[in-house]
C-alpha cells in the first residue's frame, strides 16, 4: 500500500529581472524562512532536502556544495536533482513514499541575471559533435519546433501571440511577477524575429528568484497547521535528446509525464476533471503545444480555445493565471516549482487578486527549455 503525500509549506522571494541586493544564499534563506513559517515547522523537522540546479546556470561546479546552510540543512540528507522543478518534487514524493521519511523540502533558485552570456550556456547543451559546430543561436531549436507545430496542428502565430497577451496580463494581478504588461498580440507579432516564426515577444524574459516547497506524508501533514494540498499524481519523462529525431508537432515528454501523473491520480478524462492548469510557456507556442500534449485541448484546438477565452482566468479552464513564465519571468528549472506553488496557492484559496473560483483539482506541468525534451507533470488537489 502506498502512502499519500501533501504540500504543507510554500515560500518564495519576488521574481525580479535583477537582484543585486541579495546573494543566492540570502535569496534562498528568505524563501526558506517563509516556507518553514508557512508550514509551522522548524528545519530540524525536515528529514530530507532536495535542490534543483545545474552548474552552468550558477557558475559553480558541483553547486550541490552550497545548498545546506541557507536551508538549515547542515549535517542532513541533502542532494541535488539536475532536472526541472517538478522532477525535484517527484524526488521528494518518492522518498516520502518509501516510508523512511516524513517531511521533505525542495529548493530552487534562479540568478539568471548573473549569467553574462545565457545563449552560450544554452548552446553548450547542444550535441557537441553533430549540432554545436554549426554555431547557431540555440533558439533555432524553438524556431524549428514552432513552425513544425503550427503547420502540423493548424494553430497560428496570432494565437501564440495571444498567449503572451493573456499571460503578461494575468501577471498584473501577481505581486511576485517580474514582467507584467498590458501588451497585445499585435505587439508580439510586430516584435523582431529571433528564429522565424519565433519573435522576441514570444520568449519569456529571464528573472531571478527562489522557491522553497515543503512536503509531508499525509499523516505528518495532519499534524501541521495549514491546509494540505495533495499530490494525487506526478510524472516525469525524457524524449530523445537528439533534436533531429523529435516529432515537433507534439511534446512527447509532456504526454508521457501527464500519462503517468493521470494514471497515479486516477484521472481518465483530464479535460473534464482538471479545473485549471499552470503549464510551461517559456515560448508562447509551448503553452498551446503543452495543453494539447497533456490532453487539456484536442490536437489543433488549443489556439481556438484560447481565442474563445476558455483559458482566461474566468474561462472554463484557466491556464497560467499566475502569469506563467511569460509574466513572472523565466527562471529555468525553478519554473516547475513556480507552477506547483501557484497551483497549491490556488487550491488553498491563497492566490490573492488572481484567485480562481474555488478550484479542487489542478495540473502543473514543466519543461526544461531548449534544447531539452524533458519535463514533468503533477496533479494537485484539495480534499
Amino acid at each position: 500500500m502506498t502512502r499519500d503525500v501533501a504540500i504543507v509549506g510554500l515560500g518564495c522571494t519576488s521574481f525580479r529581472p535583477t537582484s543585486p541586493h541579495a546573494s543566492y544564499r540570502e535569496m534562498i534563506f528568505e524563501a526558506a524562512v517563509k516556507a518553514y513559517s508557512d508550514a509551522g515547522i522548524e528545519p530540524d523537522q525536515v528529514d530530507t532536502f532536495m535542490s534543483v540546479s545545474e552548474d552552468y546556470l550558477e557558475g559553480t561546479a558541483i553547486v550541490d556544495e552550497y545548498v545546506p546552510d541557507q536551508l538549515g540543512a547542515v549535517l542532513k540528507p541533502v542532494h541535488t536533482i539536475g532536472a526541472d522543478g517538478i522532477t525535484g518534487l517527484a524526488s521528494a514524493f518518492l522518498q516520502i513514499r518509501t516510508g523512511q521519511f516524513e517531511v521533505a523540502l525542495v529548493e530552487g533558485r534562479s540568478k539568471a541575471s548573473n549569467v553574462l552570456h545565457p545563449a552560450h550556456i544554452d548552446a553548450f547543451a547542444l550535441d557537441p559533435v553533430y549540432v554545436r559546430p554549426l554555431e547557431l543561436h540555440p533558439r533555432f531549436v524553438a524556431g524549428l519546433e514552432m513552425r513544425a507545430f503550427l503547420e502540423a496542428t493548424g494553430n497560428t502565430e496570432e494565437q501564440a501571440a495571444a498567449v503572451v497577451e493573456k499571460n503578461r496580463g494575468n501577471a498584473c494581478r501577481n505581486p511576485m511577477a517580474a514582467h507584467p504588461a498590458r501588451t497585445s498580440a499585435q505587439d508580439v507579432l510586430r516584435s523582431a524575429p529571433i528564429a522565424e516564426p519565433l519573435k522576441e515577444g514570444d520568449a519569456a524574459l529571464p528573472a531571478d528568484g527562489s522557491i522553497v516547497i515543503i512536503l509531508a506524508s499525509a499523516e505528518a501533514a495532519a499534524r501541521m497547521k495549514g491546509q494540505p494540498v495533495y499530490i494525487e499524481g506526478v510524472g516525469w519523462a525524457q524524449d530523445t535528446p537528439n533534436i533531429e529525431e523529435r516529432d515537433w508537432s507534439r511534446a512527447a515528454y509532456a504526454e508521457e509525464a501527464a500519462r503517468q501523473a493521470y494514471r497515479m491520480a486516477k484521472i481518465s478524462d483530464p479535460a473534464g476533471q482538471i479545473q485549471f492548469a499552470e503549464v510551461d510557456d517559456a515560448f508562447a507556442y509551448k503553452e498551446l503545444q503543452h495543453l494539447e500534449s497533456v490532453g487539456l485541448a484536442p490536437t489543433g484546438m488549443a489556439g481556438r480555445m484560447l481565442e474563445q477565452g476558455e483559458f482566461s482566468p474566468g474561462g472554463r479552464l484557466p491556464v497560467n493565471a499566475s502569469g506563467g513564465s511569460l509574466g513572472c519571468g523565466h527562471v529555468h528549472d525553478l519554473a516547475g516549482l513556480r507552477s506547483v506553488m501557484e497551483a497549491a496557492l490556488q487550491l488553498r484559496g491563497d492566490a490573492g487578486d488572481r484567485q480562481l473560483n474555488n478550484p479542487r483539482v489542478g495540473l502543473a506541468q514543466s519543461w526544461r527549455g531548449v534544447p531539452t525534451a524533458s519535463g514533468g507533470a503533477a496533479v494537485l488537489s484539495r480534499r
Binding site: 547542515v74 523512511q100 525524457q238
Partner: protein, 392 residues
C-alpha cells in the same frame, strides 16, 4: 527501522576505465547500461525508469550532460531522473534508484553513471576550480589538490600517522586493482613502498602514487522490487540500508580531521539495515579512496575503526583482501587501483560489493565469508557522505 518495500540488485556492468576513451559519453553510457542488463538477463523493455548520474558537466563539456547521454542510458520515453552530489554521485545513484523502487511506484530501475573527464582541456583538474567559493576563494588562484592536501595534513597531524602507512594503503589498492578487468592501464601493479613514498610531491603531503588518476568510463546497475524478484524466483542481493549526509559549505569552519557527515550517513544506513555492531556485521567494505588517506579517514567515519585507529590496523593487515580476522577494504582496487571516472567509480564500488556477495568476484573474491558489505563515496567540498549496504 527496516523499510517496507525491499529493493534487490539484479545486475551490474562496467566499461573499462581509460585515461582517454574513443567512445562518446552516450556510447560509454550505452555500453555500461547494456552490460548491466545482460548481467541481469533483462532487456530495456523490462526497465520502468532510469537514473542518470554524472559529476560536474565541465568534464564532459556538455551543459546538462545527463540529458545529452539520456538515449545511451536507455531513458528515451521513460521517467528519467538525474541527481548529483559531486564525488558522492556514483553511490548516490544507487540510492536514487533505491527510492524509485522502494516507493512502490516502480518495479525496476536502471541506474547509469558516466564520466568522460578527458574531454576537459587543458586538464580536467581545471574543471574543479569552480567548486570553490566564487567570492572568497577562487580569486586566490585555487587548485583542486589544495583542499585534499589541507585535509590530509590535518588528519595525519591529529593522529601522528606516518607517510609510510598511506603508502601501504596505496600499495594494497594497486595490487588489488591488478585483478580488476576495468583497471586503467598503468594504474595497478606491484609498487614498492619506497617507490610510492619517493613519487612526486604534488601538493604536500599528497604524492603522485597516492592519488587516483583522471579517467573515462561508465557503470550501471539494475534494481528491482521484491515482487519482481519473487515472480522470477530469484535469490538476489538486497539493498539493506542507504544513507547520505551533507555538511556545511563553510568548510574552513570545520575540523577536517574527522568526517562527521560520513558518521551521520553511516548511522542512517546502519539504522535502516538493523546493523548495531558494524565491525562485526559488515564483512567487506569499499570505502572511497581517491587519495590513500581518504580510505582510512572514511573507515573511521564509517565506525569500522576508532578515530586514529584505521592507520594502526593497516600494519596488522586488518584491511587486506585475504584477511580472515579483519574487514577486507577495497578488494576491487578502488579509485587508486582501478581508476576514477568520478560517478562511474562510485558505481564500481557498489558493483564490487554486489559481486563479492554473489561470490562472483573471481580473483578478487575475499577469503572470509561475506554476507553483508558496504560501499561508500564522498564529494562536494569534502562534505558529503553516501553509503549503500548490501546483503545476501
Amino acid at each position: 527501522m527496516p523499510y517496507k518495500n525491499r529493493v534487490a540488485v539484479l545486475g551490474a556492468g562496467l566499461t573499462r576505465f581509460m585515461r582517454r576513451a574513443l567512445e562518446t559519453p552516450k556510447e560509454l553510457a550505452f555500453q555500461a547500461a547494456s552490460a548491466a542488463l545482460r548481467d541481469a538477463s533483462l532487456t530495456i523493455s523490462d526497465v520502468d525508469c532510469v537514473v542518470g548520474i554524472t559529476a560536474p558537466d565541465a568534464f564532459d563539456g556538455v551543459h546538462m550532460n545527463a540529458e545529452y547521454f539520456a538515449d545511451g542510458a536507455g531513458a528515451r520515453g521513460k521517467p528519467y531522473m538525474r541527481s548529483y552530489v559531486g564525488g558522492g554521485s556514483g553511490v548516490f545513484g544507487v540510492i536514487n534508484g533505491w527510492y524509485h523502487v522502494a516507493s512502490g511506484d516502480f518495479d525496476t530501475c536502471l541506474v547509469v553513471a558516466e564520466e568522460k573527464m578527458s574531454s576537459a582541456l587543458p586538464h580536467p583538474q581545471g574543471a574543479f576550480n569552480a567548486i570553490y567559493d566564487q567570492f572568497l576563494e577562487r580569486p586566490l588562484g585555487v587548485n583542486l589538490l589544495w583542499i585534499f592536501a589541507l585535509e590530509m595534513n590535518r588528519y595525519m597531524s591529529a593522529h601522528g600517522v606516518p607517510m609510510e602507512t598511506f603508502a601501504q594503503v596505496a600499495r594494497k589498492n594497486k595490487l588489488n586493482g591488478m585483478d580488476h578487468p576495468s583497471s586503467q592501464s598503468g594504474i595497478s601493479g606491484d609498487f614498492s613502498i619506497e617507490e610510492i613514498m619517493d613519487s612526486e610531491v604534488m601538493a604536500w603531503p599528497v604524492q603522485r602514487l597516492m592519488v587516483s588518476p583522471v579517467s573515462d568510463g561508465a557503470g550501471a546497475m539494475l534494481l528491482a522490487s521484491e515482487e519482481f524478484v519473487k515472480k522470477r524466483g530469484l535469490d538476489p542481493v538486497w539493498i539493506e540500508g542507504v544513507g547520505w549526509n551533507l555538511d556545511t559549505s563553510y568548510w574552513t569552519n570545520r575540523d577536517l580531521y574527522y568526517p562527521r557527515y560520513l558518521e551521520k550517513a553511516a548511522l542512517m544506513a546502519y539504522d535502516m539495515a538493523g546493523v548495531t555492531d558494524p565491525r562485526k556485521e559488515i564483512h567487506v567494505v569499499e570505502p572511497y579512496d581517491p587519495f590513500a588517506y581518504k580510505e582510512l579517514h572514511h573507515l573511521e567515519g564509517l565506525q569500522l575503526a576508532d578515530k586514529g585507529q584505521a592507520p594502526r590496523l593497516v600494519e596488522k593487515g586488518f584491511w587486506d583482501r585475504d584477511t580472515l580476522a579483519g574487514i577486507p577494504a577495497t578488494p576491487s582496487g578502488g579509485l587508486i587501483g582501478v581508476g576514477n571516472p568520478i560517478a562511474a567509480a562510485g558505481m564500481m564500488k557498489v558493483a564490487e560489493i554486489y559481486w563479492q556477495l554473489e561470490g562472483r568476484a573471481g580473483k578478487r573474491q575475499v577469503r572470509r565469508e561475506a554476507r553483508r558489505g558496504l560501499a561508500q563515496a564522498w564529494g562536494d567540498l569534502m562534505q558529503v557522505g553516501t553509503v549503500v549496504i548490501l546483503g545476501k
